[in-house]
Amino acid sequence: MAQKEKDALSGVETTGHEWDGLRELNNPLPKWWLYIFYVCIAWSLVYYVLYPAWPLGKTYTKGLLGYSQREELVAKLDEGKKAQEKYLTAIAAKSVDDIQKDKDLLAFAMAGGRSYFNENCAACHGAGGQGAKGFPTLADDVWLWGGSTADIYKTIQHGIRSDDPDTRGTAGSGMTAFGRDGILKPEQINQVAEYVLSLNKRSTDAAAAEKGKAVYDENCAACHGDKAQGSLAAGMDVGAPPLVQANWLYGADKATIVQTVTNGRAGMMPAWSKRLDDATIKSLAVYVHNLGGGK
């Protein structure tokens, strides 16, 4: 037993602990403090009886009150779903354009659409529809298959070049591989690439660009339009992008254009009507439309 030491000033025993000359007094706790500790132990016993407490292998003691956080969560989720019901019914009943005219429905569809988008669409189109090479930016104003809410709704429903009978484009269709299939010679491809660049005032070989116009008119204008305004502006539904613009799906440099003309392109999107219900697709259409580029 260590020597008990008393503090001279207060006459209280010290614990023997010392920090920089300061010694801790060993003032005893009041007895009721100890009793509160016992009460806590008694309380824990009550708790064991009433609430889930002890793990028993794959199960556990359930407690007399039958309380379960999981059931509480399920009840809360049901409550939330019930609260959503009237909006979901209204969304299912209305056209996508009418949804956008109703401020409350618009807010609900936007909030829901955001989480549906992150779950289903963001993997390719990026968060907020920012897009990636080959996957169109949904926040801009360039649309291959139409940027109205009704168009977006239809595209999400049936997909692009998908196995859905109402798909945009037809399954297996796409831009011809002009180089690989031997339709155009490398020299012609160079010329048509220069021509496309010249439309965007970025051509470096005026002579080639001039020759490229003929190649374009013969091979490309059928889909991309006589003024390279894209199939949509030319009144066709084949998904050929406009070639006079600032943002390019695969890249704006000459090498990419040459590669595109040589090998062709065929963007695809699955039909979502098989996986998502109508209200979800409508919410998505409204959300995508409101990313900024909707027409």
Binding site: N27, P30, G128, Q130, D141
Partner: protein, 510 residues
């Protein structure tokens, strides 16, 4: 040493953490060692004796005023118009609004609460540096309710002596009756305390009606029960134990007290050596014997609600209520000696009186009190200015992070923002939104008609609501000054309220 298992240094040069098993020479003799004692302090009940005097009257006044404020405040009405609650003080947690007379606070303005708490803390510091723990002695709810409970106890069971006899006596029918009556009154007070508490959080008349008809929600009843129980327990039984063991304030209050603070002081230079007074002895004879003014009557100890002896000097348990001053003054008057043997005094003055016999001036104005006062003024001023200028409009703008910006087909650049309008008025509002800092910037609002780009847009917000819009700002790429530039949103209501928000507009790096 190399073979020894004893690792202690033989020279004793380095001090070891453990004291050596054998007491070294010069250790205190065994007689001084205390026998092993209990780990826990036995509770000895305090029986405060009734006392009258200046400080007792002050304490009753403080009690009456504070309890009146507590019980009356939720019943004061305040007209805020047809769509707002008319309770002057209402902490409406369900609807997330705080109402304090003319002030209405939204959750976003919780910093006013921070300001109020800082102000309260500084007020506590100032009061303590001036006059010790007067907060504890007069204004703390623990003190106020304990005082009230002791008063009830005295009414039912009698004064100190009777209460001690009652507690020590057997459990007779009279004792059971007294104890039952006392606890019944205590519980009624406690229920009224708990009941008044919840009136601050909901419309008081409505809730009282519900309580009277037994229609109140289980939450309301539960909280009343909780506060009834804690009031009864803390004011009836825990009392000074709360101050000594539970409250953190006594533990660091000494940092605010200095030698110029007016604290409850026993003038030991005048009172010692204390000794009972014999009738046959005159004060001159006592003085000649070397005895002091203290006649060791223990009146100061018996009235103390903390159960301490103030003659031991300033103690952590002392709540600075000054009841011992009243008790001592009463006795001093009775025995014909000057009052003030125990008084509120500074340590500087005590030292001066004890050594030179001349009083030292009381310095209430000193750097510490000036600093606390100035800080309080600054905080109070900031709160006041904030409340006076408090706008009915607030906006918040969150820029889209993905995508950072969008290039449109014609080469213009667009940024998207989530735009929130807090309409803190009771009327619907029409606003005009404009941006500054970017030439040629056009604004569009998501939703129906989002292709309409204008220099200004009209927005609306419902009364007492936050309206959320998605805003697109578009600008020609040639007008951009680098990858990021400041952009100011300015929202103006038809009533002339204006709010601005500094955001940024981003574009391609080159």
């Amino acid at each position: 040493m190399s073979t020894s298992t004893d690792t202690k240094p033989s020279t004793g040069q380095a001090p070891t953490a453990e004291p050596p098993a054998e007491a070294p020479a010069g250790a205190p003799p065994k007689a001084q060692r205390r026998a092993s004692r209990s780990m826990y302090q036995k509770h000895s009940k305090v029986y405060p004796k009734a006392v009258s005097g200046t400080f007792r009257r002050l304490k009753w006044t403080a009690l009456a005023v504070l309890l009146a404020i507590y019980y009356v405040l939720p019943w004061i009405r305040w007209d805020r118009g047809p769509n707002a609650p008319d309770q002057a003080v209402l902490l409406d947690l369900a609807n997330r609004r705080f109402y304090l007379f003319f002030v209405e606070l939204w959750p976003q303005q919780i910093y006013y609460l921070t300001g109020a708490l800082i102000l309260a803390a500084l007020g506590l510091f100032l009061a303590t540096s001036l006059a010790g723990r007067v907060w504890c002695g007069y204004a703390c709810p623990q003190t106020v309710w304990t005082d009230l409970y002791v008063w009830v106890e005295r009414l039912v069971e009698g004064d100190r002596g009777e209460r001690i006899r009652l507690d020590q006596g057997p459990w007779t029918a009279r004792k059971i009756g007294r104890k039952a009556l006392k606890n019944l009154i205590w519980l009624l007070i406690a229920a009224a305390t708990g009941g008044a508490w919840i009136f601050y959080f909901t419309d008081a008349p409505t809730l009282l009606g519900e309580l009277a008809r037994f229609e109140a929600s289980s939450t309301a009843v539960g909280f009343i029960a909780l506060f009834t129980g804690t009031t009864w327990l803390l004011a009836g039984f825990a009392r000074e134990q709360v101050c000594t063991y539970m409250c953190p304030w006594p533990r660091f209050q000494s940092a605010m007290i200095d030698e110029d603070s007016l604290i409850v002081t026993y003038q030991d230079w005048r009172g010692e050596g204390r000794s009972l007074m014999r009738k046959s002895q005159s004060w001159e004879e006592r003085k000649a014997e070397g005895l002091g003014d203290c006649i060791d009557c223990f009146n100061c100890v018996q009235v103390c609600p903390a159960g301490i002896d103030i003659r031991d000097g300033l103690q952590m348990q002392c709540i600075g209520c000054g009841l011992c001053v009243d008790a001592c003054d009463e006795i001093m008057t009775k025995v014909g000696r000057p009052t003030g043997l125990i008084k509120f005094d500074t340590q500087t003055n005590q030292v001066a009186l004890a050594t030179t016999g001349q009083p030292a001036p009381t310095r209430l104005i000193r750097p510490r009190t000036i600093l606390y006062s100035l800080m309080m003024l600054v905080i109070a001023g900031a709160i006041a200015i904030g409340l006076i200028l408090k706008p009915g409009l607030d906006i918040s703008v969150l820029r889209d992070r993905a995508p950072l910006f969008v290039t449109l087909a014609d080469g213009t650049v667009r940024n998207a923002y989530t735009f929130k309008i807090s309409n803190m008025t009771r009327d619907p509002r029409d606003y005009t939104l404009a941006v500054a800092g970017l030439t040629g910037a056009r604004i569009a609002v998501a939703g129906d008609g989002q292709e309409d780009q204008e220099a200004q847009q009209r927005l609306t917000a419902a009364p007492d609501m936050v309206a959320t819009y998605r805003i697109f700002v578009t600008a020609p790429r040639a007008n951009l000054q680098g990858a990021s530039q400041p952009l100011t949103f300015r929202l103006t209501s038809a009533n002339g309220e204006t709010a601005t928000y500094e955001s940024v507009f981003m574009g391609p790096a080159n």
